[in-house]
Structure formats: C-alpha cells, structure tokens
Amino acid sequence: MSQPNRLKTGGRVDRSRQLTFTFNGQRYQGHPGDTLASALLANGVDIVNRSFKYSRPRGIVAAGAAEPNGIVQLGSTEAGQVPNVRATQQALYEGLTARSTNGWPNVQRDLMGLIGKLGGQFMPPGFYYKTFMAPASMWLTYEKYIRKAAGLGRSPNENDLDIYDHRHQHCDVLVVGAGPAGLSAALAAGRAGARVMLVDEQEEMGGSLLSSRENIDDAPATSWVEKTLKELSELEHVTLLPRTTANGYHDHNFVTLHERCTEHLSDLAPSVNGRRQVRARLHRVRAGQVVLASGAHERPLVYGNNDVPGSMVAGAVSTYIRRYGVAPGNRLVLSTSNDDGYRAALDWAEAGREVVAIADARQNPDGELVEQARSKGIRIIAGSAVIEARGEKRVSAAKVAKIDIAGFKVAGPVEELACDTIASSGGFSPVVHLASHTGSRPTWNEDILGFVPSPVKGMTPAGGAHGVYALGKVLEDGVAAGNAASEACGFSAASVSQPNVKNLREGAAVALYQVPHLKATLRGPKQFVDMQNDVTSAAIELATREGFESIEHVKRYTALGFGTDQGKLGNINGMAIAARCLGRTIPEVGTTVFRPNYTPVSFGAIVGRHCGELFDPERYTAMHQWHVENGAEFEDVGQWKRPWYFPRKVNGKTETMHEAVSRECSAVREKVGILDASTLGKIDIQGPDAREFLGRVYTNKWAKLAPGRVRYGLMCKDDGMVFDDGTTSCLAENHFLMTTSTGGAATVLEWLEIWHQTEWPELDVYFNSVTDHWATMTVTGPEARKLMSELTDIDLDKDSFKFMDWREGNVAGVPARVFRISFTGELAYEINVQANYAMHVWKKLFAHGDKYGLTPYGTETMHVLRAEKGFIIAGQDTDGSVTPEDLGMHWAIGYDKPNSWIGKRALTRPDTKRTDRKQMVGLKPKDPKVVLEEGAQIVLDPNHPIPMPMVGQVNSSYYSPTLESGFALAVVKGGHQKMGDTVYLPMADGKVHEAEIVSPIFLDPKGERQNV
C-alpha cells in the first residue's frame, strides 16, 4: 500500500477494498468511496495537468464541480473515450484509466511549457489574434496548430458502445442539491404530500454535511443525513436521484438533469441479466416549483503564482481530510479573509500534520473557530495574506506579508514560510448558475460579499445558494423553502421540527479578492483568476486599460469563465478585479451570464434513444412491404420513405439508376406504369361554405365545379407567392377532397385552419386530414384503360369518365374512388382505397397487369415525366419568391373572382408586376447528352469578368429517354420574353454549358395523350 497521503483513519472510503487505476500510464491504488482526485492526492500525485494557455503544471485545487485543473480524458478503449471529466467528480472504480487533457509529451516534462515561460510575459489576452493576424489567409493554418497545442480533450474516433436514455419527468417540487438545505426542503415538501424530486450531483447525498465538523442532534451530521434520506425514500411521491446534476434551468421551470447511472462502476456500462445498462440518462423535468439548494463555492484568494500545485481552496482541504481520509500535504499555510477558512487548519492539525501559520487578512480575528486555532497553538498572523507562492512543481514556501486592503498594497515586510500546501479562502460565492440560466441577473449582497439569485418565478433559493451559511439557519431555511414551494403547489405546509445545532459565534469577514503584491499587477508574478482558461489578474487589468468596460466584453476578451468552467471559482474574483481597475463597485460592474450546462453532459445523454433506426420517424405507405420485397431504392421525402426507382437484375447485373429510370419512363409512355402516390396530403372538406372557402384560398375559380369533377389549383400566400398546389375534387355540393403535395400536407391543413379560425370564422366549413386513411395508386400509360377494365365495375368509356372526372366503384373488389387526373401527361387513373385493403388491390393490379407490361415506377421517373410536361413541384420549382405569373400559369389565376382571394392583391404590387422577374422557362442543353446541374446559375455572357451577373438558376433537370436529351426547368429574369435565346451555365470545374430557352412544356403541348 503506497498511498503516502492516506490517513490511517477517518473518511468515508472503504479501506478494506483496494481499487487499481491508471493515470497517465502509471498504476495506482485507491479505495471505494474515492474520487479520482482524492485517490491521486492520496498517492501524492501533484501535477494532474498542464494549463490551457501557458502550459504551467497544475494540481487539484477543489473537491467538486468547481475544479478547474483536474480535467481528464477518461477511457481505456477508443470507443470509451470521455473528454472533460472532472477528477473531483469521477468516482474511482477498478481499472479506471485516465489521462491529462493537456501536456505534450507529458505533464511532467512539457515542451509547450517553454512557450508559456518564454512567451508568458508576451502572451496578453488577444495574443493569438494579435500575433497571427497577418496574413489573413494563414489564420486557418495557424489555428490548427494553436488548437492542437491548447488541447481541450478529444472525442472518440469509434462508435460509442454504451446506450443512453431519456425520461420525461413532472413534479410539484424539484429540489436541486441534497445538502442540509435541500434535504430539509425535500423533507418538508415530501411530508406535505407533494410530488418531490431531490437531485444531487455527488456520489452520495448530504453535501457539506459529509465533511462537516458539526453535530446535529448531538450526533455526527452524517447520521442526520442517513435518517432523513431513509424517511424520504419511504415517501411514495418522493424520487431521489443521486449522481444527477441539474445542468440547465430553462423557461417556465423546465430543468434538465444529467443522471450518471453507471459511470461510477466501469468504463463500459456493465450488463445485468445479459442486458446492457443505461450509462447516462437525461431527465427533462417540468417542475411546479424549484427549490435551489445548490450551495456555495468557496473563492480562492488571488495571489502570486497561486496555481503552483499544492495551492488549494480551504474547504477542499477539509473535504479531502474528512470525507476521503487524505491529507494532501504535510505543512500548511492558510490564507483567509474569514472564520470559515479556519476549518481547514483545524482539520489539518487534527490529522496530525503541521499548520505552519494562518495569514488572516483581518486585523482582529476573534470568532469561535479562531479561538479553537489559537488554543491549539497555531500561529495566526493578523492583517496579512499569502502574497506569493514559491515552487515550480509543488509549493515550497509561502511569502506572507501584512497588507493594506483599502490601499491595495503590501504594508509590511515579507516573511517566507516553508510549506508544501497553501490553502486559501476569500469567502463564499452562492452557486447562482442555475438561476442565471433563466436570464435572471443575480443581485449583489454586501452582507455576504457575494451575488445571490434574483427572483425567478416559481423558484425559491435555500441555504448557501442565497448566502445563508450557518448550519442551524440553513436547516431552518430549507424547511421554509420546502414549505413555501409545496404551498405554492396547493399543499398545506408540513411540520418539521428544527434539529438541535450549536450555533458558532462568527467574526465578520473582510472583502479580499486579489491580494496586493510588492510589484504592480502587470509586472508581478502571475495571479490566476480562472485557472481553466488561464486568465490572470493582469489580463483583466489590461482588458480594462484597452477600453473594455462592460464585464461581458472583459469576459470575451480574456476568456474569463468560458467553456466548461462557467466561472465557478474565478468569476467573482474577476468582477472584483475589473471593479478595482475601473474604479467601480462590484454590483456596478455586474456579472456575466452563466449558461447551461453547469458541468459537461455527454452527447449520448443528449441523444438518448434518438439514434440509429430511431433517429427520425420513417413513414411508410400501405404498400411499403411490397416495395421492399421488389427491390425498390428509397428516397426520403420529408419523413416518408418513397420508392425512388425499382432497379431490375438484367443478366445478373443490377440496373443503374439511369437505366432503371429510362426503362420506367418508357413503360409509362408506351405501355402502363404504376406509382404509389399515397403520400400526397388529403384533406376532407365539408360544409355549406366549403366552395366559397376554396375560392378564397386557391387562385382559380371553384364556383362551378360540379360533383364528379376535379380541378387543379394553385395556392399563394398573401404576398402573392405560390406555396403549394394540388387537385381538389367535388364529392358533393358541400363536400370536397383536397390533395396537397407530400411535404405540404400538414402546412396546408394549418393554412386552411388559420384563415378559417382567424379571418373567416363566419364560414361554415370543417377540414379533416384523411391522408393516412386512403392509399393512392396511379395507373398511367396508354394501356391503363385496358388494365383497369379487367378489375373495375366503373364505366371507363372516355366520354362518360372523362379527363378530370372522378367516379366511385369497386377496384379488385374493394370500394374505390378513381380520379382521372394525370401528373405524367398520359392517360391516368388514380385509385384511392381504404389503406387496409390497398395491398390487395396493388397485388391484383400486378396479377392482371403483367400482360400489359405494368411497370412500377418511383419518384425519379415521376419527376422526369412531370417535368417533360412542365408540371411544377412546389418547393422545387418554386421557392417562396415565385408568383403564378412567373410560372406562366395565367390560366390558373381568377383575377375576376368576386372575393379578394389570398395573394390576389399582392399580384398588382409594383414588385410583382416587374417584367424582369425570374420567370419559369424550359432549358434545352445544346449538347443533348448534358444533364444540367440542379442549382446551376445562369448567365448571359460567360466571358464577363467574375463576378458575373446571374440571371437565374436551374430548378429541375433530368435526362429524358423520350426526348433522347437532357432538359431542365429553370427560372430566368424576363425569361418569358427570351424564348430561343442562348444562355450559359458556368460550372465549378471551368466548363461552360450552353442551353436554349424554350417552353417548359417539352412533350405533347396540347395535352392529347392524357385526354384519350
């Protein structure tokens, strides 16, 4: 057993069991109950990292979430790599493997440190930007190396093998933090009968009580913790979540929790009964009330070289001794501005180690803890502070001097005290991070020398989180907060008796943040304010000198409180220094905004089960299985999986897409094809004013559409721009069936509703989505009628069932509505049957269709066929800036309709009347083999120097087997007047395609083929 700093007794670790772990390739031992940090300290590992910017050696400073240096890369396998883990929060387990985040080639012997040393003086804030500013084109190159040198952990290069999960939670009272305040609050709210969730980020609940010197009800505080947790766990509506960090506090009491389910057990989540456990879980909580019992962070003092390993926050020293049984050194100098810091010295002395001296910034320290130290014979140097640490890889001495706080200067001779550890305490900062997430700016409280949360609706702070620190008061405050919260949720306050706690007499603290040095800040030894981001007091002073007065600007210029740190140890000290430099008070300077997440959250937890095949819904039609079994390649259209094309095997070789599409196109043009069109949106419209309503939302006329007839319509927004199109059928005088584009189904329904509900509520009409109720199959091609006639009792005679008619009857024995509409330009029947019977009808069509050459086709063929006819796809040939006039669809505009339909007024605005608007045209490449690129820009003069004026772009482009040529639909400025002109399409590779502007209708302009 070689844990030189492990105490013989004490702490909450299980000394009967050994755990072996690896840090930076070296094996060490620790115990269950340790964190990685406590185990490293027990083993005397001083240097855990190199600093972010200056590459200085760094050691553990804190004992919890506030730790700025002990940030490690976890994981023994590539797939298991986890960056940005705080060693102070990571429970030790057998086989744990961790590395320092920074440091090359290693933390002990760091080459980058040379730069830090040599360049240190010359690396003010903005150094990289100022130094590597020119030439601008090189910045991307510089940045790559700078980032590599800085190092911020790395993500794994292999897929994560673990699984993660989400839970949606609701409760009356969410209590954040299970220290004395949180436990009391949960107890009060739980006893009242409220649904309570109590969450705590640590391995064990109890917070500060787990390392407290104080007794509750004449027993160690931990017994009260156990008793309280037992009662809470027995309450039916109380949920306890340890190892769970409340990471974000969002609008209206929405709080995200990050529960680490197995991260304390092993690298990869262990299996139980052959089932892999969830590694981490994200809880999305909607709370009626939030009790913020997140406690307070102790502020270190900002003295020279305060980052030399062995420098720690006073409270952390106590925690390592009392909770983990680790004394992180032998000879301690304490620098404090308050009574609380004395606990570290007392614990140190009781652990049998030497307290060299206490430098107390106050002139006459006299509290009860001070008395205890005096009675132990500890030397107290009043009115003084540690002004500088000596040592490189470990503290070797502390320079202590009398200081004049008001004058910000050293007021007496410097004494150098040999020691290996310096603990410091500048008082406490309430953890206001979560409250700040809501946008609420914290308020300065001069009594406690700290910011406290400002009111947030539905939130009650308790205990240290708003500056209540004395244990007895904290317990009382917690009960009050718990009762206030449950009462706000409609419960009656519960009675919770106040436990017996001895109140300590406390001396007043003094406000001390940056410790004065013999030299001016800019010339003295580095005083670190934010160790994670390597921000010094000099950097802040320089920022203010360079004119950054707003603390938000100082933050961005220096990186104070950036990233995963979020200003836990350093922010208040930073504000204080800025205030000193600017000659203002801290509340005048104000705080920056703390943002979610409080501590890093794994991406896995954010993703939960929304990955792999559950990443996004896949919507299937009723014929999906047939498509799969018949080898369809699928295209995503919104969330729908639509057959794209159906490649066949010919002589053992699978067709290319081009071959398949050519074959499918020819089948439709020459024989008969079938398309699954079920994804089109369908809206059932009923009511006496249905017809009137259609006339207002479509650009064309609907007054005379008779039952049995179908009409095509365009929809505009009120700015006159086309946003969807489709056909609507008159089923009965007051009953219509509207179809929309596949992607527009939900949007169009909402569109109809917004106009009905907000503008025209007097119209009697209802809209219901029936998209999924009907399956739609389009049978189209010259042979379509022959095929249909074998399967239906509907009279298919061309004079009784005309183009743009619909009829009802049976198809393959199933009641169907059949619509004679055509998106291919060929004779076409769209068969609609109730979706549960669709597979039967589909298969019957194939059973009979074989002899006619029935060919299934997908969306690609559909696109080619419709584009040959100049039929638009809303969203592909339109982009929200195209009017019906621009599309050349004057025939679909009812300018003389009696009402001012949506979009009409805008069509007479000067902008929509311009003749040089981009108008839809056809493009025929001069080389028929060329298929223009969709999105390609169109110019009139390819020899014009760059930038060339662009006059339009290609929206739809395909190869047509029928035309034996590429062809495209495009928009060109003033294109309708440019028929026959030649335009040019310069490509990225330097080629320039030539094309002729032609009519967008490439095939059968009179529509004879569909009208047979």
Partner: protein, 211 residues
C-alpha cells in the same frame, strides 16, 4: 345530409386486409411474455373510427339517439359504453373521435347524418388511417415516460382522459380507458416507427406483444 358524400370503404366479399402493423410485426417481431414481463402491448386493428365535427349540443343529442352515448362533458374527456366497445373522445372544442367496432362505422355515420339533418357538421371516416395500440402492465407508465413529455402520473392523468401529444418524434392520441390500460391511437404511416420505439423503450421491462 345529401350535400356530403358518404362512402362505404369496406368491401363486401372476403378480401385480404392488412393492419398498419402487419409489416412491422413481421419485421421487428412480437416478443413473447417472459417471467419478468412488466409491460404488454397489443394492436386492436380495423376498428371503425370517425372524426366528428360540429357543435357540442347537436352532436351530443344525435349521439345519444344513435348510440345511447353522449359526448364527454369536459375538454380532454373520454367516455365509453358499458362494454367498453364504443368510445367518444374530446379532441377539440368542435371535434370528437368516435371509435366503434369495425364494420359499424358506415351505419353509424349514416344514422348520425340523418339525426343531424341540416345542422352544420362534418363526419370523416378515418379508420384506415389510424390504429389502436394498447399498453398494459406495471411498467406501462415508465415506457410512456420514456416516450411522451406529457405527465402520465395518475394524479394528472386519471381514467377517462385522453390527449393528443408528441410521442418521441411522432404524435399520438393517448388515452386512459381504465386503471390498468393505456391506449395509443397511432397514425398509420407512423405506426411502424411507434411500434419500434415501444419495443425499444419496453425492452428493459421485457415487453411482450400479444398478437
């Protein structure tokens, strides 16, 4: 009402019929119950489903006349007949979902249309577009907590309530017809996703599918 077209979508003879989950159950499987099974799922396919739109007073009267079952009195209410075979759920101030045994819907619609006469209303047959999934068992609530942001705690979601809400990345109608049973009315095209999501969410509770 002669001004709307009523259309019976059910064929007369023996025609093969496929529920929205036919493919999914074949592809993703139907896990059998185990000793540790804490949640059970089953589909109730081919029910008659009608969306009713109109004023509450006239619809209530017509429904009482035709089905002997009135509208739920409150928003988010769900009422059923004694046998639990016919139910009416509040969907919106002017919309209700009527579910009846498969095959009844055409006749019910016809009789409702007669009873409603000249009132302004709409009835849409939506039975082919959605299916009903049932969840039962002690872990049903946990499975739902993994899937919907809506609060399913019994204090907030008592028997006789139904809501339309977001389910994972799709939407469902979620109803609680009895103490032990939840119903999810799922859109046909999202049924496969919903089924796979539920199998995954229920895996830790040894979810079983009764087929």
């Amino acid at each position: 009402m002669s001004n709307a077209q009523q259309f019976d979508t059910r064929p007369q003879g023996e025609i093969p019929v496929e529920s929205p989950l036919a493919y999914s159950m074949q592809r993703s499987g139907t896990p059998k119950a185990k000793a540790g099974t804490k949640v059970t799922m089953r589909e109730r396919p081919f029910l008659g489903q009608l969306t009713l739109r109109g004023g509450a007073i006239v619809l209530d009267e017509a429904l009482r006349e035709v089905l002997g079952l009135g509208l739920p009195g409150e928003p988010l209410g769900l009422v059923q007949d004694k046998a639990g075979e016919r139910s009416i759920q509040w969907m919106s101030p002017d919309e209700w979902l009527l579910i009846v045994p498969g095959g009844e819907e055409f006749d019910v619609e016809r009789r409702l249309r007669e009873a409603l006469g000249d009132a302004h209303f709409a009835i849409s047959n939506v039975g082919g577009g959605q299916t009903v999934l049932e969840l039962e068992g002690e872990a049903a609530n946990e499975v739902l907590k993994k899937s919907v942001a809506y609060d399913v705690h019994p204090r907030h979601f008592p028997v006789g309530k139904g809501v339309t809400t977001v389910f994972a990345k799709a939407t469902v109608i979620l109803r609680r017809p009895s103490e032990e049973r939840w119903e999810l009315v799922v859109r046909r095209s999202f049924a496969d996703y919903t089924y796979r999501w539920l199998l995954d969410a229920g895996e830790e509770f040894d979810i079983a599918v009764e087929n």
